[in-house]
């Protein structure tokens, strides 16, 4: 019998072997994924302090050969909250370490965006990453890091402390990455444009390897309230999470345990639930048997009296900012936006925000221009699989005087503590009935308004056309009749033309 060897692999080793899960599929995709992960970390870092983000991204080429795949230096600099020095090595040198396992709306969802980028850079170029960060205090900390992939540990190559004379706050990440910029470029630029659309309070500056500058400037300093951390809602809890909570809890009885570790469970609800589950309120959580835990988790899904999760853990853009963002990037003739009330799926709260824009810089194509966002990050791939695409294409647009060949853009933004992505690639939203319903309702609301606009526009156009017909022919009639009647002076027809205007000045 042959001996098979089993070995435990570390988290970083796992992702090293399965890097396409995190979007690092090929050289062009990798360069795009690295930029977006770092930009999103930077946006989160600034937003957590409610500071309008200033992010500077520079991609510069190192090798001079003209091969498709080159080594680039990527530098991303932000004005975010900064990272305390003791966390820096782990934050960038240890996969699955991070601040993203508490429940609140955040951009990245793997908790490995930045690390994955550093990891990818390391395995392709074997060069350390440089991290500089300050929380705005007296010192700036600079690290040179690599990752010990097998052990999932940061290796600190160099550590320096600088005096922070100018009270700089933020983080600078710089590392080397192999990639194919020319092929990635369209996606990268589209990514910045769309990111700017849903983050209208941000300044994004990108310098590409050819030295070209792309600047996306903020149009407002208003920002949405940052999301609050929240406890897990009972509907969304599984056995593993429940056991972890029991492991960490300091509560001595079930009643207090339920009240203090779960969202939307107060004294009365906790009592009712324990009655429903036939458990004593005074029972010690750590004494629960495995079977009891499974029963409780099952009952949590059956019990009907939990109030739905509240949305304070969400940070939607809001109608004003969404409108400002669309206006800034598309400069349309008309915009309508809508924000739905919070809703939930499987215990996870979510909010749908939508916008529709007509004209301006929106191109005329054979289909609507759809912009999809989840937690303020653009989704650029697999549009046709997204629930919003299906909803948009199931509507009878003629009822709204709209057709896909018009220059119309539709913006869909879903925010949630757990965005219901369909696949690990996290590029499209799955077709869940709750989400579908909210998207459909939101779309109907904006469609009604766009219908109103289109009708009015049609009306104004018709009216303008009508008046122009009179303005064209009446003077000719005056001219011909004056000649025919052998008069000297043409009759004044201005009043007649003015009287044609049925509804007065419009627009």
């Amino acid at each position: 019998m042959a001996q098979s060897s089993f070995q435990e692999i570390s988290a970083s080793d796992f992702f090293y072997r399965n890097r396409d899960i995190a979007g690092f599929t090929n050289p062009s995709r990798a360069i795009f994924a690295a930029i977006r992960e770092l930009v999103e970390n930077s946006l989160d870092a600034a937003e957590s302090l409610k500071i309008p983000p200033d992010i500077y991204i520079r991609l510069s080429t190192q090798s001079k050969d003209k091969k498709d795949e080159q080594v680039f230096k990527l530098r991303v600099e932000d004005n975010g909250c900064g990272i305390q020095p003791r966390f820096i090595p782990s934050a960038f040198g240890q996969v699955l370490y991070g601040s993203k396992y508490k429940l609140k709306q955040m951009r990245g969802t793997f908790g490995l965006g930045g690390k994955m980028a550093v990891l990818y850079g390391q395995i392709m170029t074997h060069k350390p990453a440089t991290i500089m960060s300050s929380t705005g205090q007296a010192k700036i900390y600079a690290f040179k890091l690599m990752i010990d992939i097998q052990r999932n540990r940061p290796i600190i190559m160099d550590r320096r402390v600088l005096v922070n004379k100018e009270k700089w706050r933020g983080t600078i990440v710089e590392f080397y990455i192999e990639g194919d910029y020319l092929r990635a470029m369209p996606k990268i630029l589209e990514y910045f444009k769309q990111t700017a659309m849903v983050n209208p309070y941000s300044n994004l500056t990108f310098v590409d390897p050819k030295g070209r500058l792309y600047k996306f400037s903020r149009v407002t300093t208003e920002m949405p309230d940052p999301p609050k951390e929240t406890l897990p809602h009972p509907y969304g809890v599984d056995v593993e999470l429940f056991q972890r909570l029991i492991y960490v809890t300091k509560e001595k009885n079930l009643l207090e345990f339920l009240k203090n570790h779960f969202h939307r469970i107060g004294n009365i609800t906790a009592q009712k639930f324990l009655e429903f589950s036939k458990l004593s309120p005074t029972k010690k959580p750590k004494k629960l048997s495995h079977e009891e835990i499974v029963t409780i988790v099952q009952n949590m899904k059956k019990f009907k009296e939990f109030r739905p999760p509240d949305a304070s853990c969400l940070s939607p853009l809001g109608q004003d900012l969404l409108e400002a963002g669309i206006m800034k990037e598309l400069n349309p003739e008309y915009i309508v936006v809508n924000q739905r009330k919070p809703s939930t799926y499987a215990g996870h709260p979510f909010i749908i925000e939508m916008g529709m824009a007509y004209g301006g810089e929106i191109p005329r194509k054979n289909s609507f221009q759809i912009y999809r966002f989840a937690n303020k990050i653009p989704l650029l791939y697999d549009e046709a699989s997204d629930v919003s695409y299906k909803v948009i294409n199931s509507i009878n647009w003629r009822r709204y005087k709209v057709s896909p060949d018009l220059p119309i853009a539709i913006v869909v933004h879903i925010c949630s503590t757990k965005v219901p992505y369909k696949t690990v690639g996290k590029e499209f939203i799955s077709d869940r009935p709750e989400v579908r319903r909210e998207v459909a309702n939101s779309l109907r609301e904006i469609s009604r308004k766009i219908h109103h606009f289109m009708s009015k526009r049609e009306h104004v156009n018709r009216e303008r056309k009508r008046i122009s017909v009179f303005a064209k022919y009446l003077p000719r009639i005056a001219e011909f009749s004056t000649n025919l009647a052998e008069k000297e002076k043409q009759p004044d027809i201005k009043k007649l033309i003015a009287s044609v205007r049925k509804y007065g000045e419009e627009e």
Partner: protein, 358 residues
């Protein structure tokens, strides 16, 4: 001698009508109202046959073209332009054709979608002022001719007072604006013979029909153009001589004669385009039988046409029509004028004509 037609008086009258139309529009504009024009309706339900006038006339119904109505606005403007254009033509004694009108409009930065649209506007103008377009100098293409002992005196610019005898040219003289506007000075003819076909017209000239039968020969070239019908009416009226019409012996030939006699529904808004006392002299259906003419069977369309004509009010006037239609339907044959050639080239002139010109 016949009463004189003074073409200059006519011009003054036309110019007066056009100026009145222009003044009417001008005054309405000056008074701050959208100008309107009233005219008799030319819709089918307003076209009636008048047994006294022996032609179609327009009834009481009128239509109003209003410049307030956006759908009327363009045609209204075109009508005003057409009036101005016609006024200039008439004033300068220049002539134009319908095709010309279509293109001339572009010089005034007016556009017509197509020839039909401009033709319709000219018909509107005829209706609005009650004169035919020939009177305001818009003529059709010329294709009919006249030959015989008639001396005319031109009135067109450059030819005023010049005379010509219409037997001067053996091919006949084209019936154009100069001829229709001329005065009739002198004739020895005592009848007019209208012929449908060019071949026979030439034969008649060669055979001296004009001398043998003291006649003026007119070639209609199929359905007579309005100008030719107007000319025939003038000849008949002013010279006070009868008109005989010779056509092929089939429903179509018969109708060519009928339009000369009783006019067409399309021209119901106009007068003097028909010659009510003219006579259809052949080829009759009964001639086919009587002269044993070589003939062809009637087609389905011929028979259908005969049934239509049978009900046409114009064909109720003279029992001759109904009788001949019945004969056609009975023998189911048709014959051309040339069919008389079976009896020799001169038979039609020497034998047939004398019996018919009574």
């Amino acid at each position: 001698m016949a009463k004189k037609s003074n073409s200059t008086d006519k011009n003054k009258e036309i110019i007066g009508s056009l100026k009145r139309l222009g003044t009417q529009i001008y005054d309405q504009l000056e008074n701050g109202v959208f100008p309107t024009i009233n005219m008799p309706s030319r819709s089918i339900d307003n076209i009636n046959y008048d047994p006294n006038l022996r032609q179609y006339v327009l009834g009481e119904k009128t239509v109003t073209r209003s410049s307030r109505n956006i759908r009327h606005l363009k045609p209204f403007t075109q009508l005003a332009w057409a009036a101005l254009f016609s006024n200039e033509l008439t004033f300068h004694k220049k002539t134009s054709t319908l095709r010309d009108v279509y293109y001339s409009a572009q010089a005034y930065n007016m556009t017509f979608k197509n020839q039909q649209e401009s033709n319709n506007i000219i018909t509107d103008l005829e209706t609005a002022i009650g004169h035919s377009r020939e009177e305001f100098h818009i003529f059709p293409e010329e294709r009919s001719a006249v030959f015989g002992d008639l001396t005319i005196e031109y009135t067109v610019p450059g030819y005023e007072g010049k005379t010509m005898n219409l037997s001067a040219h053996p091919d006949g003289v084209l019936i154009g604006p100069a001829l229709t506007s001329s005065k009739f000075a002198k004739t020895s003819a005592d009848k007019i013979i209208a012929i449908e076909k060019g071949g026979l017209f030439t034969r008649f000239i060669e055979e001296n029909v004009h001398k043998k039968h003291n006649s003026i020969l007119v070639l209609t070239s199929g359905q007579a153009p309005r100008q030719t019908r107007f000319f025939l009416r003038r000849l008949s009226d002013e010279l006070k001589i009868p008109l005989f019409i010779f056509t092929d012996g089939d429903p179509w030939g018969m109708h060519i004669a009928m339009v000369i006699i009783s006019g067409s529904a399309n021209a119901a808004h106009l007068r003097n385009l028909n010659t009510p006392d003219a006579k259809w002299s052949g080829v009759w259906a009964s001639d086919i039988v009587k002269y044993k003419l070589p003939s062809d069977p009637l087609d389905d369309v011929d028979i259908k046409r005969l049934h239509e004509l049978q009900k046409d009010p114009r064909y109720q006037e003279d029992p001759l029509w109904q009788k001949e239609i019945k004969t056609f339907l009975k023998i189911k044959r048709k014959a051309e004028l040339e069919a008389y050639a079976r009896y020799g080239l001169t038979y039609i002139v020497d034998e047939y004509l004398p019996t018919k010109l009574k």
